[in-house]
Symmetry: C2
Subunit: 316 residues, 2 copies
């Protein structure tokens, strides 16, 4: 596939492919949060997704899009977090081997999630170079297929299925808020949402300590953060050329929020919605709570990306 | 109304009355918890109910069952917890005054919940005698109607609506697990469930440090705990003659669980279901997790009663 090869059609095909292998997640509304925001908020709850995050969508689409011949040697990825568990789960459903390269300093919970889905863990030094080198070596040695966490049109199309469901449940959305890290979710959702509803406004929200997407979006040139620092660990990744292109084409603006506001937002969501969302998930709502957006009276979709938290390490 | 005046018909009428004024809550399933239990578990999520607990059902039914003449002077209750907020909310919907007697040592969150719904708070010493005396005085002085937290057929019928919804969503339940404190929920749900599905087995679960229901159920005589001690603060109340009678008629057994097992269960539910439930809500699942019940292969309903927790005071 070519870089821009993510379309409404590939996203619809992804939806067919992952149906029955992932969940259709609910949309929650809350009167208190609506009153605070002066808007109608619709929370798409990917914290209830299989594997605990939306990553199950992209990983499942990628694994099941491969032919029997292509996948016979299994799949490889590198991940310190949720993508690894999602790939292990999808490979388990398909009955093939999953080799997950993980930094040796990953949390016990992350290792256990991969083991729990039957994945093989390969530990490496905690650098991107070490992860990429080991993954490339495994591909070369075993013939397995590499599944990138976000720089892959099949993964992006899988994440885009969120928008199909949300716009079915709430057809009249005026605005959709997306978290952005590596850009897989943001670009997939943006392609689908703008195709289905050209008038919708799309705003991506990013932690200020990992604001490569905002800078790259503004300049038009990939500008990765050298040392991203944010509590939103799912959003530390940097855009790829592919995701930057899709985001520049379809997303209207990118705003940033501080870690303090992310923690406040996470706590508000727990308290009011009675659901568990991880810090990365709270990033879009943080922009609402801090009143960074002009949303008065609007119907606003907010994607809550996942619920994998360490209950012994809460940030308050 | 007379003590036993809770029937499938009054529960159906309650459902009509509270429709649009409370939520129909979802039922969650989880593959991991099913595998651990060796059974099919169906969690009825009253943590998503308005006011944060199932108490909204009984309070709303009681408030809206009163005639305009009966309710013109408003309502009174005493509560250290969720019932007070639920009555304040229901009175606000009806546009009448709510006077909520609360022990002066209640948590700030409990006071704020009542204020948030427009209720008036009257503080008293933290004894049942003080609460009852002040509530009686308010009734005498203002002509307001007293709404007991559970010893009231309208409140019991309101709580029973949970069973109507759950058995619509999962008609083939073999077993239903209920938490029991004062017995409002347990007796209302038991009346409805046994009327709709006589073959269903009903087991109430109680904290061992507040086991008056188990002792009263066994002996047939009200045996309140003198000093209930349990983390499940919603279940410290003692059965009334009315709730004991209904529970002895319709519930098959009562088992007890320790506080340590309640905390373990609460944590498991947070981790796996990605939802916030309070300690009292985890009591029925604790009996499953501790393998106190013979449920192999069964379809088991579990009522999760509420989600009002202090996020700064988690029990782990």
């Amino acid at each position: 596939m070519q870089p821009a090869d993510v379309t409404l059609e590939t996203i619809r095909a992804a939806r067919e492919r992952i149906a029955g292998r992932t969940r259709r997640t609910p949309v929650l509304e809350n009167a208190t949060l609506n009153a605070l925001a002066g808007a109608q908020l619709y929370f798409k709850c990917e914290n209830f997704q299989d594997s605990g995050t939306f990553k199950a969508r992209g990983a499942t689409n990628a694994v099941f899009a491969l032919s029997t011949a292509e996948i016979q040697a299994g799949v490889v990825t590198h991940s310190s977090g949720n993508h690894g568990a999602a790939v292990a789960r999808a490979a388990g459903l398909r009955g093939v081997r999953a080799q997950i390269v993980m930094p040796e300093n990953s949390s016990r919970a992350k290792f256990e999630a991969v083991y729990g889905y039957g994945g093989e863990v390969l530990r490496c030094e905690p650098t991107l170079a070490a992860r990429e080198a080991l993954a490339a070596q495994l591909v070369a040695e075993t013939g397995a297929t590499f599944i990138h966490p976000y720089d892959d049109p099949r993964v992006i199309a899988g994440q885009g299925t969120i928008a199909l469901e949300l716009l079915e449940d709430v057809p009249g959305l005026d605005l959709l808020l997306l978290p952005v890290g590596g850009g897989g979710l943001a670009s997939g959702v943006a392609v689908a949402a703008k195709a289905l509803r050209p008038a919708i406004r799309l705003i991506a929200v990013e932690p200020i300590g990992a604001d490569d997407a905002r800078r790259s979006f503004t300049s038009g040139t990939l500008s990765p953060s050298l040392q991203p620092v944010t509590i939103a660990d799912g959003l530390r990744g940097a855009l790829s050329a592919r995701t930057l292109e899709l985001i520049r084409r379809h997303v209207d603006d990118i705003v940033t929020v501080s870690d303090a506001s992310i923690v406040r937002a996470m706590r508000t969501l727990w308290q009011q919605l009675k659901i568990i969302v991880e810090a990365s998930s709270a990033v879009p709502y943080a922009a609402v709570q801090e009143q960074l957006l002009d949303i008065g009276g609007a119907r606003v979709g907010i994607i809550l990306t996942g619920g994998n938290v360490d209950l012994d390490q809460l940030p308050w």
